[in-house]
């Protein structure tokens, strides 16, 4: 552990899942060759897009909610230290214990120690991005502790010895017959007559996990929100596995990024509307649990875990906060709407991004958590079409942050007097996104960022890569206002 010198500290190498094994263009090219994968992803994103659009249209105050969400999160980050200290006080008053983890290694050590202190060797887990980010399951396994993922998709991923490919529906790259095969092969005690009917598959998971839920004494979760003013932790879910993990064990350990705070209980009224509609396209997800420390009911009887531990995780978040343009990415509520509208994600799927955070949000979050040199190709994994901004419930300007990170990368390369990296060159060619001249022309026309760069003169002389390969040879007129998404919808006949 280094001592603090005032410089931003990124997520350490060698632990967790924020870095891929290969640069985005190479991984993307392989993914593009996989037709089954592309078909599954295309179907999933189109379905969720349509559901989201329908429930968003039901609210006539959607834009006001987005503006409120953006403002609340932005203000929270500017007082993050005060809010965190308040959260710690409240959780402690309510009988919980708060732990602080500078990075993935420290968080893994804390959780491992807490589980060991219970004497247990098995834990049940509810889907959590933070614990995937830090590679908690692997750390526990090294300590001889088995972690059972209980979200159906996570279970499919875990039993398939696979990686998640989408934040919301992590097993979306698998179809029903693949899932059936995985269950038949890996699930102890499964009915050999199991069919590939989704209901039968879900019931097989119910039977398999119920034994675990009823007997396992330690639960591990993430959190969607924590309310600083009241010390209330909030988890949204659909299947009831979250309630099982949060309620039945004797010990509950929650790992949460330090950016997941909201200051007041009232603030939640905004996010409990924005998140479900943006995420699963539901008015409200089936279950939301809110709890504090260890609960005792009015008659003195206990309710839920006796021991509650909250682990607050930095792992590159303070480094992200240090960047005035990039810090807005910490406002993300992990809804995955930006993925579902992204033409690049739709074609490559989540694995190509290397990190547990795929899609547009991953392209701006992972490089900031790790330092841009460790994820140098991700800021180029976009056509800057702006669909992600339009979909984002907290109005994160992902295209601008992408451009900002590209500039940072190019600056670093210049300072180091290096030639452009292979990924910058590959992305400049960008044959995989811009595979036809028509598409290419439309993509650059639609670039919101290009509009901004054009300024008052109405001419653009430099564009960030991959478009720089083209604008380098001549000035480009400032593109008209039709966005790539509009063009995409108009030319491909999909609901926008």
């Amino acid at each position: 552990m280094t001592t603090f010198l005032g410089l931003p500290v990124h997520a350490p190498r060698g632990v967790g899942h924020l870095r891929g094994d290969e640069p985005f263009p190479d991984a993307a090219r392989k993914a593009l060759a996989n037709t089954q994968l592309r078909r599954n992803i295309g179907h999933a994103t189109a379905t969720i897009r349509a559901k989201r659009a329908a429930v968003v249209a039901e609210l006539d105050d959607w834009e006001q909610l987005r503006l409120a969400g953006e403002a609340i999160k932005t203000a929270t980050m500017l007082r993050l230290d005060d809010h965190l200290e308040q959260l710690e006080r409240r959780v402690t008053e309510r009988g919980g214990t708060v732990h602080w983890a500078r990075d993935a290694n420290e968080a893994n050590e804390i959780v491992t120690r807490l589980v060991q202190a219970t004497g247990e060797s098995e834990v049940v887990k509810v889907k959590s991005m933070a614990t995937q980010e830090i590679g908690l399951n692997e750390a526990l396994e090294e300590a001889g502790i088995a972690a059972f993922e209980t979200d159906l998709a996570e279970l499919i991923v875990q039993l398939g010895h696979d990686k998640p490919s989408h934040i919301l529906v992590p097993a979306i790259h698998r179809n029903r017959s693949e899932i059936r095969e995985i269950f038949l092969r890996e699930m102890a005690g499964v009915d050999p007559e199991l069919t590939d009917d989704p209901r039968r598959l879900a019931m097989a998971a119910r039977a398999y996990l119920r034994r675990k839920f009823l007997s396992t004494k330690v639960g591990i979760s993430g959190a969607n929100f924590a309310v600083a003013e009241t010390g209330t932790m909030v988890v949204l879910e659909s299947e009831g596995n979250g309630r099982m993990c949060l309620t039945l064990p004797e010990t509950l350990i929650t790992v949460m990024g330090i950016e997941k705070l909201v200051p007041t209980w009232t603030d939640l009224e905004v996010f409990l509307q924005l998140l479900p509609r943006s995420s699963t396209g539901e008015r409200m997800n089936p279950y939301t649990s809110a709890w504090g420390g260890a609960h005792t009911l009015d008659d003195g009887s206990p309710d839920g875990p006796r021991d509650f531990h909250l682990v607050l995780l930095d792992n590159g978040r303070t480094a992200t906060l240090a960047d005035e343009v990039g810090r807005q990415v910490l406002n993300c509520i992990k809804c995955s709407a930006c993925m579902n509208v992204c033409p690049v994600y739709e074609r490559t799927g989540g694995h190509a991004y290397g990190s547990v955070y795929p899609g547009p949000i991953g392209a701006v979050l992972s490089p900031q958590l790790t330092g841009v040199e460790d994820n140098a190709s991700l800021p180029y994994a976009s056509s800057l079409c702006g669909a992600c901004f339009d979909a984002c419930p907290v109005r994160i300007d992902i295209p601008s942050v992408l451009v900002h990170l590209r500039a940072q990368h190019v600056e670093e390369q210049k300072t180091a007097r290096r030639l452009p990296t292979p990924e910058a060159v590959a992305m400049a060619a960008a044959s995989w996104t811009m595979s036809t001249p028509k598409r290419f022309a439309a993509a650059e026309k639609a670039s919101r960022a290009a509009r901004v760069l054009g300024g008052k003169k109405g001419r653009i002389s430099t564009l960030p890569p991959p478009l720089s390969g083209w604008s380098g040879s001549r000035d480009a007129p400032v593109p008209p206002k039709e966005t790539f998404r509009e063009w995409w919808a108009r030319t491909r006949d999909v609901p926008s």
């Binding site: 603090f4 005032g6 500290v9 179907h43 969720i48 006539d60 105050d61 006001q64 409120a68 403002a71 932005t74 500017l78 993050l80 230290d81 200290e85 732990h99 602080w100 500078r102 420290e106 209980t150 159906l152 499919i156 529906v169 097993a171 989704p198 996990l209 119920r210 009823l214 010390g231 659909s238 299947e239 009831g240 596995n241 309630r243 099982m244 949060l246 309620t247 039945l248 209980w265 009224e269 539901e282 008015r283 409200m284 089936p286 279950y287 809110a290 709890w291 504090g292 609960h295 009911l297 009015d298 206990p302 309710d303 839920g304 021991d307 607050l312 930095d314 303070t318 480094a319 240090a322």
Partner: protein
């Protein structure tokens, strides 16, 4: 377990990193709150109850209307319909006696014991029509969280005046220091090819008994 020396050092360092990241700290703009907070309809109005029912049914819950002097009979008939094979039923420890005096009250059963019950009956703390959401807060007529989680059928009695229109109105009626469970339809998954399957780990059936005075 108390905070250890190492996490104290970690806390100081993280707070220090935040302060240094924020530098001179620009003042934050107050958040605009011009979204809809109050609903157009009064709590418990018949338009709201219709909306609430519509939303619940859309998410595959069943809704059974009754009046305050027929709650017990309605719950009995719901249970008879939804548990045709029979099976034992549990109630929150202080469910009103006049509702279902014959049903076993929760006395702190273990999770495995709860698994032997086919159904559970509770009241609720508040509900929102716009999203079809019911909230339980651990009050004696609702019980601890486990009892509405392990049995396969949850019959929830909602009184008309508990139904508000919007999510902001719902939250303003709740006490955030209590253990809260927000329920919007039975559990569901869409993890396999996006095909929705109702009823995974929580109760696979949610029946709402909606009581008008």
């Amino acid at each position: 377990m108390s905070a250890t020396g190492s996490t104290d050092a970690a806390k100081e360092e993280i707070l220090q990193r935040i302060r240094s990241a924020l530098g001179s700290r620009p003042a934050a703009e107050p958040a605009p709150r011009d979204y809809r907070r109050a609903g157009a309809e009064a709590p418990g109005s018949s338009a709201l109850l219709d909306l609430f029912e519509d939303r619940l049914v859309d998410y595959k819950a069943t809704v059974h209307r009754t009046t305050s002097d027929h709650v017990g009979d309605t719950v009995r008939s719901v249970i008879a319909t939804l548990l045709p094979q029979g099976g034992s039923v549990l109630a929150a420890s202080a469910l009103p006696d006049e509702w279902l005096p014959e049903v076993t009250r929760d006395t702190g059963f273990t999770a495995r014991e709860l698994d032997q019950f086919a159904g559970v009956v509770t009241a609720c703390a508040a509900a929102a029509a716009q999203t079809g959401t019911i909230v339980l807060d651990g009050s004696p007529d609702q019980g601890r969280r486990a009892i509405t989680l392990v049995p396969d059928l949850h019959v929830c009695v909602v009184r008309a005046e508990q139904v508000v229109e919007t999510v902001p109105e719902l939250l303003s009626r709740l006490d955030p220091t209590r253990p809260l469970t927000f329920i919007s339809g039975p559990s569901a998954t869409s993890d396999i090819e996006l095909q929705r399957v109702e009823g995974v780990h929580g109760p696979r059936t949610l029946a709402v008994v909606l009581v008008t005075p």
